[in-house]
């Protein structure tokens, strides 16, 4: 068992456990904590998958951003009984049954599928040449694939030699979308003045 394998099993198991705990936790704050571990674990998995940049993004956005936001939401709405609202056991049971059905279905599909035709991206295994963040950035700012002077085997793949595949437009839309969401969220969450109180 080498380091990567060890880390996968460890991190994967912790992640799954944390995720289950998220679903199982009665207190919403604890659920948030377990979610923190889950997200951190997922981030670790990203690192294991060679996506350093996305791992960092996962941390900074999810842990440093979303989760904080969630906690704020909890704090702003936490009133004694509300932190833990019980769900009827029957519904729990139904959810679990459906969940397991779903899981069985998915696992069956995964196991039934053969991924032999895929060729792994070997470049990621070589840290000296791993420049995934660079390629990602260049693709996002609109440099075409053919101009990306990335690692050789990224460009040698036949499917990757398509001209003009860039993500600058989705990237821009995403930026605008973020701004809109920011304004929209602020609008939605603003303290509303009630006329009755004024009167």
């Amino acid at each position: 068992m080498d380091l990567a394998e060890f880390l996968f099993w460890t991190v994967g198991a912790l992640t799954c456990l944390s995720a289950v705990m998220v679903a199982a936790a009665q207190s919403i704050v604890r659920a948030a904590v377990w979610l923190l571990f889950t997200l951190a674990g997922v981030s670790g998995l990203y690192f294991l998958l060679g996506a350093d940049f996305l791992g960092a993004v996962q941390l900074i956005v999810y842990v440093g951003g979303i989760l904080i936001l969630v906690i704020f939401g909890v704090m702003l709405t936490a009133q004694g009984p509300l932190t833990s609202i019980k769900t009827p056991a029957g519904e729990w049971a139904i959810s679990l049954v459906v969940g397991f059905l779903m899981l069985g279905l998915l696992v069956a599909c995964i196991l039934a599928t053969s991924f032999d035709t895929f060729k792994p991206t070997t470049i990621i295994d070589d840290p000296a040449r791993a420049r995934t963040a660079t390629d990602l950035g260049l693709v996002l700012v609109g440099v075409k694939d053919s101009q990306v002077q990335g690692p050789a085997d990224l460009n040698q793949v036949p499917g990757r030699q398509r001209e003009g595949i860039t993500y600058v437009f989705p990237f821009e839309i995403l930026s605008v979308h973020l701004v809109v969401v920011l304004i929209g969220a602020a609008y939605l969450a603003r303290a509303k003045r009630r006329r009755k109180e004024q009167a």
Binding site: D2, L3, A4, S27, V29, R30, V33, L36, A40, D52, F53, G55, A56, V57, Q58, L59, I60, V63, G64, G65, L67, I68, I71, F72, M75, D125, P127, A128, R129, A130, R131, A133, T134, L138, V143, Q147, Q149
Partner: protein, 390 residues
């Protein structure tokens, strides 16, 4: 025998464990030194007695005594506290402060994990520290702690934004997110430092300094632990070893953010007085010793500056703190980012060749100077890498 030993030592797991141990040691020892230093600085600046008078030479024993006292204190958890969260909080803070050390190069190749996104990674990991603070505040079951935690969280999250923008400015200026490369680019005399590269970077450094001070909840931004109002903020209920962990986390993050500032703006391990890296003159090992020392000294100097500020300036109100960030620092840093982007572009467009990224001449695989316009070509990763990932 020797081969076996070398083979064992270079086994990745062993290397990882060793690196972690060394860095953890560094952090812990530093914390002790910082506590002592804090006392000395406070005493000198504010004319306080105590640390300067007692505890051996320069009062260093006092710190030791403090440590022993804290270790021996009762591990007290309030009845109203959420035990699980209360315990977790301190560890989270410490972990958040420690993880950045892994990606921080102390010398040419002296780094646990030479990531090509090191800067970003450090920012990301630092941001998890907030969570510990919040949990500490919430888990204590005390309204002082809760208030403190919320304030602290708001403040840290807010200051993350200008801090990140400042980092982005440095990234834009150097063209890489790898700290090793950044520092290699600043080789040579001190005018090669990013601080003096252009006016925008110069201003960025000071903004960054304010931001790291605030995000380390240091005075004058220490509203989270405002003693007069909130008793001690989020760590009101903490004592003994848990309190010690919290403080080690704080000093750790002080150091690591200072080191980040040094690495990005102040030339990293370069003295700024020699045309080349010390390894160029002294060979790999000795040169790196010099490098590490220079880097540590620079970082400690910045930490000293932060203490100096703490004992010099009065505390702000919480609204003033937030206003400083949201109304001033964010616009300023955004403007600086714009300027830092346009500055080389304009120079290279209207007077090609007058402004070039400096490349360290001695380092193999140094980035070639850009030919003008947008720096599309990218630097190759550094040559020497200690940690090996599979």
């Amino acid at each position: 025998m020797v081969d076996a030993l070398i083979g064992f030592l270079t086994h990745p797991v062993v290397v990882a464990v060793l690196a972690a141990a060394i860095l953890m040691g560094l952090m812990l020892v530093q914390a002790i030194i910082f506590v002592w230093l804090e006392r000395k600085v406070a005493g000198r600046i504010q004319d306080r007695l105590g640390p300067t008078r007692v505890g051996g030479k320069f009062g260093w024993l006092q710190t030791l005594a403090d440590g022993i006292k804290l270790l021996c204190k009762e591990d007290f958890i309030p009845a109203a506290a959420d035990q699980f969260l209360f315990r977790l909080a301190a560890y989270l803070v410490l972990i958040g402060a420690f993880l950045p050390f892994l990606a921080m190069p102390f010398g040419l190749g002296v780094v646990a994990l030479d990531m090509n996104i090191a800067v970003f990674y450090i920012l990301a990991v630092l941001s998890t520290e907030v969570f510990g603070v919040i949990l500490a505040g919430y888990g204590s079951g005390s309204k002082w702690a809760l208030f403190g935690g919320m304030r602290e969280a708001a403040q840290m999250v807010s200051y993350e934004v200008p801090r990140a923008i400042c980092v982005v400015i440095a990234v834009v200026a150097t063209g890489t997110m790898s700290l090793s490369l950044m520092m290699q680019q600043q080789e040579g005399f001190f005018w090669n430092w990013l601080l003096f590269r252009d006016p925008f970077c110069f201003l960025t450094f000071w903004v960054f300094l304010v931001c790291i001070t605030a995000s380390c909840k240091r005075a004058p931004f220490d509203l989270a632990e405002a003693e007069s109002e909130l008793v001690a903020g989020f760590h009101t209920e903490f004592s003994g070893f848990r309190w010690l962990l919290l403080f080690m986390g704080e000093y750790g993050s002080m150091f690591i953010t200072s080191a980040l500032a040094v690495a990005m703006f102040l030339g990293g391990w370069h003295t700024g007085l020699l045309p080349h890296d010390p390894t160029y003159y002294l060979g790999g090992f000795l040169g790196n010793v010099v490098n590490v020392l220079v880097f540590l000294v620079k970082s400690w100097l910045l930490v000293f500056v932060m203490m100096w500020v703490r004992w010099t300036l009065p505390r702000l109100r919480i609204d003033q703190v937030m206003m400083t960030c949201l109304k001033y620092l964010i616009p300023i840093s955004a403007f600086l980012l714009l300027g830092a982007c346009l500055y080389p572009l304009l120079w290279n467009t209207f007077a090609p060749g007058t402004l070039q990224l400096r490349s360290p001449p001695g380092v193999p695989g140094a980035p070639p100077p850009p030919s003008g316009g947008l720096p599309l070509t990218q630097a190759e990763p550094g040559s020497a890498v200690l940690a090996d990932r599979r």
